[in-house]
Symmetry: C2
Subunit: 330 residues, 2 copies
DNA sequence: GTTGCCAAAATACAAATGTATTATACTGAA
DNA sequence: TTCAGTATAATACATTTGTATTTTGGCAAC
């Protein structure tokens, strides 16, 4: 069912527990008595129901401060759709809110015959969980970037697989590493029929879902070895963050660094041809990267948090060099 | 905001708490710290959010046993729409589930320009809370029955008022008591222009929402004095329950009892002219009444619980005289 | 049969939540 | 200013929930 976890017990029991717990309002003890299950199991199932999107909550109170920010961002950056959620201190919590909001927006946008390009990141995973399951006709999901060689707990393949499953769509994978050993091997792979075709298909996508990261270890991508050891040099070369595997400077242009010549992913500029391209990212430490991406107009839809929204709208108020890694200063 | 309770604190704080608690997953303590509110208040607000429908949960796992019963009920009684929810031991819990299900069905049915007739009952109140707030154009809500003189905590007026507010519709009230002092006074009131017009408008409704009750004190209507003291005689006259203020026998026909000649409400038979007429009622002790209503074809849509559904589908298996009042047997 | 292994249940305890009670601050009238 | 009266916050405690640990009951290999 979900991405990581295995599903406890059978669907029907889970559904029944959902009703009794979330709708009728029984306690877990009452449910365990009624259904003849150990309370511990009921407890774990209840926990899973929310986590895997089997039970979804809908907040029917608009947050005016967020709605207002959404409007201002639309005009300031010429965006089609913007969703602003409250800010959180914790990354995991922030991702849940961003994912939820993204899911809500996306739910209203998906239709038969569409092609959805998808990047990578924990925020994207969160948003897929919030999507309603469907059986879209003639729809497909395309990965916008290569995979990670060292099996991170969530690889790019899993994101696209899970999205495809949720939508009942076909899935196309970029069967190549996100970073090739060399620029030459990248060229070779890109001429490979398979990779080639998938990348071409990605360009035709109707919707793209992409996240971004900064250069701290909070961002998952920079945690992988290939990137991690390059961080000092990347910073020296003016990189402030990553978007679709590409490292970019404060102006939104890719920096001149070897990794950018080894990356196998859709080039950010190609997103501009996609009708609905989403940047789903939040957390104040990513504000600078987000600003760069919006400034360059790579995307036309945004899901972010309140604090970032305010920062984006404030006059070119450079984010202070907050919790940057104390590495390369040579 | 809601029907009974007064709303704690301001909307915006409530919305923020909803996000942090239900989406981000903060504890109430963390929220109280973050927002600088006493934890007890956060706790009470969280409790209210669910209760008043500001936060709504959506279960995305179908219960096959219920789905199956829905289909069988459709064919067995020639119904347009049926929703079956799990059964509960407690009436309040059962109402929450019935209300939730009714709200979901209704949400997909409501449209501009519609006229919605509404009866009375705690189950109906529960279902209104689940409805999405809207601003329907040219829609109206009409009460299908007179009001209670002795202020019950939830009068018929409040049900229609709240539904109208939720839908952004106009509201028409039957400004008369549900039971007149005499058949004569009833006739006089029915010729009164106001009452008259509203009753006429009710006949034109596109959707009707009605509940029903048995003759025990579990049913709210029988708890009011006028009815309560008549119960022995009603049973003697063959009544098994109440529907739109009218007392009916096991065959679904109104019984010959004075109350039925004093009632100010839409006659059950008039429902047949309404495109979508809902019976929203559950609990095994109401099965007999529900069966009578369905048998007579007064309604074409049903929301009930699993146990009742099974009873309805089982061969004319008279419900055993379970918890009937030990009154009139003379 | 015995043994070892695994999975599921029972148990026990810690954290979070719900609720009542007491304390405090605020308001308006004398 | 004082004094109710009220409303809000602090506190304390009972219940419910979350999680780790122990126990039990198969089941397969020996």
């Amino acid at each position: 069912m979900s991405i990581g976890e295995t599903t406890l017990y059978n669907e029907q029991t889970r559904a029944r527990i959902a009703w009794y717990y979330y709708v009728a309002g029984l306690t877990q003890q009452e449910i365990s008595d009624k259904l003849g299950l150990p309370r511990a199991r009921v407890n774990r199932i209840v926990g899973q129901l929310r986590a895997d999107g089997s039970v979804v909550v809908d907040i029917r109170l608009p947050l005016v401060s967020c709605v207002e920010l959404e409007e201002r961002l639309k005009t300031a950056f010429g965006l089609k759709l913007v969703s602003v959620v409250p800010s959180a201190d914790d990354d995991e919590q922030q991702r849940r809110m961003l994912g939820d909001a993204a899911g809500v927006v996306l739910d209203s946008l998906l239709a038969d015959g569409q092609c959805i390009g998808v990047g990578w990141g924990r925020t994207l995973i969160a948003s897929i969980k919030r999507l309603r399951e469907r059986e879209l006709k003639d729809a497909c999901v395309v990965s916008l970037m290569g995979g990670l060689t060292k099996g991170s707990e969530t690889n790019t393949f899993e994101v696209s697989t899970e999205l495809a499953r949720t939508l009942g769509a076909d899935c196309y994978y970029v069967t190549a590493p996100i970073y090739c050993p060399s620029a030459e091997s990248r060229e070779i792979l890109l001429t490979h029929s398979g990779v080639n075709e998938v990348m071409a298909r990605a360009k035709q996508a109707d919707i793209a879902l992409v996240s971004c990261g900064d250069l701290t270890s909070r961002t998952k991508l920079t945690a992988i070895n290939t990137v991690n050891e390059q961080l000092p040099q990347l910073e020296k070369d003016g990189a402030i963050g990553e978007f679709l595997g590409t490292f970019m400077g404060a102006d939104g242009d890719p920096v001149n660094h070897p990794l950018n010549r080894k990356v196998i992913a859709m080039p950010p500029a190609d997103l501009k041809a996609i009708p609905h391209s989403f940047l789903i990212s939040g957390g104040l430490y990513k504000a600078e990267v987000i600003r760069a991406i919006l400034h360059k107009g790579y995307v036309n839809c945004l899901v972010t948090d309140e604090a970032v929204a305010r920062r984006l709208l404030s006059p070119e108020n450079r984010p202070k060099t907050s919790n940057r890694k104390a590495a390369a200063t040579a």
